[in-house]
Subunit: 340 residues, 2 copies
Amino acid sequence: MPVGTRATVKTLSPQNLLDLHAQIILGNTYHLYLRPGHELIKKAGGLHNFMGWHKPILTDSGGFQVMSLAGLRKITPDGVRFQSHIDGSYHFFTPEKVIEIQNAIGADIIMCFDECPPFPATKKYVTDSLETTLAWAKRCRSAHKNTDKQALFGIVQGGIYEELRRRSALELMEMDFPGYSIGGLAVGEEKEDMYRITHFLHDILPSNKPRYLMGVGTPGDLLENIGNGVDMFDCVMPTRNARKGTIFTRNGKMIIKSARYKEDFSPIDSECECYACRNFSRAYIRHLFSVDEILGMQLASIHSLHFYLELVGKARQAILEGNFDSFKKSFGANLDEIMD
Amino acid sequence: MPVGTRATVKTLSPQNLLDLHAQIILGNTYHLYLRPGHELIKKAGGLHNFMGWHKPILTDSGGFQVMSLAGLRKITPDGVRFQSHIDGSYHFFTPEKVIEIQNAIGADIIMCFDECPPFPATKKYVTDSLETTLAWAKRCRSAHKNTDKQALFGIVQGGIYEELRRRSALELMEMDFPGYSIGGLAVGEEKEDMYRITHFLHDILPSNKPRYLMGVGTPGDLLENIGNGVDMFDCVMPTRNARKGTIFTRNGKMIIKSARYKEDFSPIDSECECYACRNFSRAYIRHLFSVDEILGMQLASIHSLHFYLELVGKARQAILEGNFDSFKKSFGANLDEIMD
């Protein structure tokens, strides 16, 4: 899912996303709640209408953003009191409030409010946090008013502790959510721990419901976790890097501002079918970055999202054809180590 | 002509410009010479190939930009010595050099190197300057190597002095250029003086060759000068204003950041057919500007360029139908005074 934090995937229009064959995008509840506000979005007829994107949208719960406001937030059993990073104003997110906000925003898939523990955290901390998250999941489920139009996912927490992950998954499955998210990874732990946890959850989570790994990741992360049964991902990585001139390609990252591309009139990737590669050279895109022209960020974002979407599209096809492992191996061989 | 100073119309892709039915865009020789450099553009196969825009392009001569570098440039009979505004490096533009640069860039329409006098300037200064410009026009004409593919326009100067404008036009017409530009207006003189000069030149310049009024202007300026026989314009006004949140509409300028649009879910202009108006509300575009999202600048630029291109398109149609004066009157009645 391309990330559209504040009701836009940065630098791109909905038409660009349609051209990229994006099927679903993500919006951030915390950011949308602050600006423009969920009430405004509701008056606009929901986020789809507000931003002119009429395909599926997923919103997160705001839990991750709120927890990241170190020093500006206080966790209580009832919810989280926090200060806006914009103007310092005080707000209080409860499970019920977060569902009310997400009901107003109107995304097709919404998330339970969770506490995302930091990394590292003691087992004691993660256990307490998990109990809070499970209690909040129940409250979110009860508060959710729009079950026929919005699928509410439970979020599996438990840090890098398999025992806690199992407990989290099993208790959420008892609540019978239409899909399950895996939160609390990609927060600083070792790659091996991330892969170990998704692998561990592979046999626990129901195979007939979607699994969404939140905030992940590199192309290598995607392939590894698809191998562990994950169906959905979101990450700012392709677009945030692109805006800084680092472009994802089949052969690794390309630092497009590099002097080596100054007179390189070939496309970013001669085999790529995206708008950027069909029409523009590395030299041109480098020039745009050199003179701070916005089109450079757009073309880089288009290519990197195309690369990501093509990667998962090919993975999907390989799964259907029963040869995902060989696809993963052959694709991975082309990725240099910095992609991991 | 939308202005694409540094090989891109700011915030827009060539596809956006095609969707807007732009027929021709402008590039700035001074800026392209400094970055990425005309030699690089030549190696790319010319500016069309470099920037992926395969419809006509016009380049200015750099004269206006170089003259604007007050304190950083020295005019001599042979040319202008100046310092780059980027790194302070020294450069020397002669008529021959400017033609060499424009031949390398490869635009379909190119300009003679001219001295654009400041405003106000004494008649003595403007006369001397004009003589320089006329001498340079001759040298440009001789230096131009690519006459079958690039049309070189002469630039009429002479400030607000009709006698000098006549002399400038007649001497250039003797050199028989394929088109004539009117320079040195919109530099601070009264509107009445601008209109007086274009009206004055109307009966002097040949009616079978295009006339291009450089760096103009507001919607009102366009209509007034079309009435005075001008065929072509370029101006950063629609795009530069759009990027700051000021949008041109049939009913005047719209300051989209204004709080009055916060919950206004109607499009910028409900009768407009542009991508921004067909898909997005004022409230959404206001939100994008409020949170500094680039899509806001893009949508505002798309609308304002559409407005300008539709305005000249309708003027063209009205001329063909023989009712330009009534069109101008009816259209102008809708424009509030800030459009002038």
